[in-house]
Symmetry: C2
């Protein structure tokens, strides 16, 4: 196995561009090119798109087969969609080609939750083709799932796990500021949340991953979403929200074993949220009480999780993997 | 691979007894027996030693070969010594027999630091015999090494890592209360520390493991140890310390890359220490600031780390392993 990992970037939105830029700084990475279906991006030079002279001469291709004419990546960083079912058609050809994938697709953190048959099919394709695939990020992918699981490594007993995350969305990228419903009337946010058109993707997958690791046979995952209403006029780099309108969301998921609630995930992401932080309480022996003061800055860290995982996934056996199957996360 | 793991306990001091008791509660464990050279323990019934009726009929043997006459363990929980060189003669026969080991031996966290040749030899024996060996625990083994490494999984860049641990030793087992020098004149503690007869084992190994994971080529690890002097008379469950005498230690280790300090580990373990906690700061992008309020209770959690690792190590390839080589720590 060569020390150099040949990487291509699938999806060149804000997260894709940032992950490409970070990957390009690593001495163990060779960037081959990008894939995006956006006609405004196809054919463009990655050096120009990213502002990195070292990427000059690498192009954006419309499809995998065009990229493959110019080189064969070991790992693809995949940053296109949130739903596994939508990602599947992009991932299956990569699995067949034996190309490994690290994806920000939120449902891919635990694709068995919503699409067990499709997950089994992708796992089989990976094993046949010799590729590894994984979903990761910061949330889902770290603060509300992998980190609490890691903490239980020193637990004699775990009775319940409670996780809180408070994000000041004013410090985040524009798509996220819009995704949380900024500027909508509260009722419209609630309608869109119920229709699956607003809200944070992946909270249920975090619940499912933690429960899986604890060996808990949970019942239905209960999820609620409420708008957070601005109590003052808010102006961010990208948008403004009048007092009385939605400035973010309060999303909550829980699961129970035999009627006893053992997992709660409480997520607040709104503009100007005070005291952003991540907190984890493990009820058990010993009791554990973790706080990440200031929280984990989302976009920067999501990109880091993708690139750091690209090196580690190559050491796993072929298949569709969970983050908790891989070696301890590590900067690389 | 059967779901049941046959376990034997090597070393039946306080930590050994506790790890045996915890392992015996797991549905995936079958306890075969114990090994200890203490004549007062050899031949005794584990049910009687532990107070657990379920262990009646399992015995303490003087040597591995006597245990093997009664059954063959998959994994041995090893809790005898702190120094890898002293553990080697106990571990080598297990490696040859293909029996895996999870050990609390502090130097085994990163045995390459003090004994690279012996570590290479043990690794080879493990690979030949098909066994896996690993050193783990809480400190070393988690709060000052594995947890900070895990945290960097979401780091774009890591410039330095600073870790503090404050333990109220009055809540810990008797051997630990004595090991930290309780009751000694300060000068005598310092003499013993310099002679390697007092102090916490494993701090340098934690430094070495973190540096290894970060890919940092560090220079010499600098370690200092000072007595903490009691500012009042202290009475614990096991001993008493007069004001003016040693009631614990302040140990500090650091390492630099090219003259720039990139790792500091600051450990205070003393009787009646206020505000026990663990804290980790990652200097980098993003900055990360973790606090475990109250800290991780040492003895309970050390035992948990041993037993939890017993299940995970079986999935690793044969060899002498590091905790960061295994899958994410997890309660099991």
């Amino acid at each position: 196995m060569s020390d150099i990992i040949r990487i291509a970037q699938y999806g060149l939105g804000p997260i894709g561009i940032e992950s490409l830029k970070l990957a390009a700084t690593k001495p163990w990475v060779e960037i081959l090119g990008g894939i995006d279906i956006d006609p405004a991006k196809v054919g463009r030079d990655l050096g120009e798109l990213t502002g990195l002279p070292s990427l000059r001469g690498r192009k954006v291709y419309y499809a995998l087969e065009h990229l493959l004419e110019h080189g064969r990546p070991d790992v693809i960083l995949h940053t296109t969609v949130s739903k596994f079912a939508a990602a599947f058609d992009q991932l299956a050809p990569l699995a067949r080609q034996g190309i490994s994938v690290v994806s920000s697709c939120e449902e891919l953190l635990f694709p068995q939750l919503n699409n067990p048959c499709l997950a089994a099919e992708l796992d089989e394709l990976c094993q046949l083709g010799g590729s590894r695939m994984i979903g990761t990020g910061v949330n889902p992918g770290f603060v509300m799932d992998v980190l609490p699981v890691c903490l239980t490594g020193v637990s004699r007993e775990v009775r319940a796990i409670h996780i809180q995350r408070v994000v000041n969305a004013a410090t985040r990228r524009e798509p996220l500021q819009r995704k949380i419903g900024s500027g909508l009337p509260g009722e419209e946010f609630s309608r869109r949340f119920r229709a699956g058109e607003a809200g944070h993707a992946g909270l249920r997958e975090s619940v499912a991953l933690v429960a899986h690791c604890m060996g808990w046979k949970i019942g239905e995952i209960i999820e609620t979403g409420e708008p957070v209403i601005a109590d003052h006029d808010i102006q961010t780099q990208y948008l403004s929200v009048k007092q009385g309108l939605t400035c973010g969301l309060h999303q909550f998921a829980s699961a129970a074993v035999d009627g006893r609630v053992c997992l709660t995930l409480d997520l607040k992401m709104y503009l100007d949220a005070p005291n952003p932080h991540d907190a984890i309480q493990i009820e058990g022996e010993p009791p554990l009480n973790l706080v990440l003061q200031g929280g984990v800055a989302g976009d920067q860290a999501t990109v880091a999780a993708l690139v750091n995982t690209a090196r580690r996934i190559r050491k796993a056996s072929p298949g569709l993997k969970l983050m908790t199957d891989l070696a301890v996360p590590c900067w690389s």
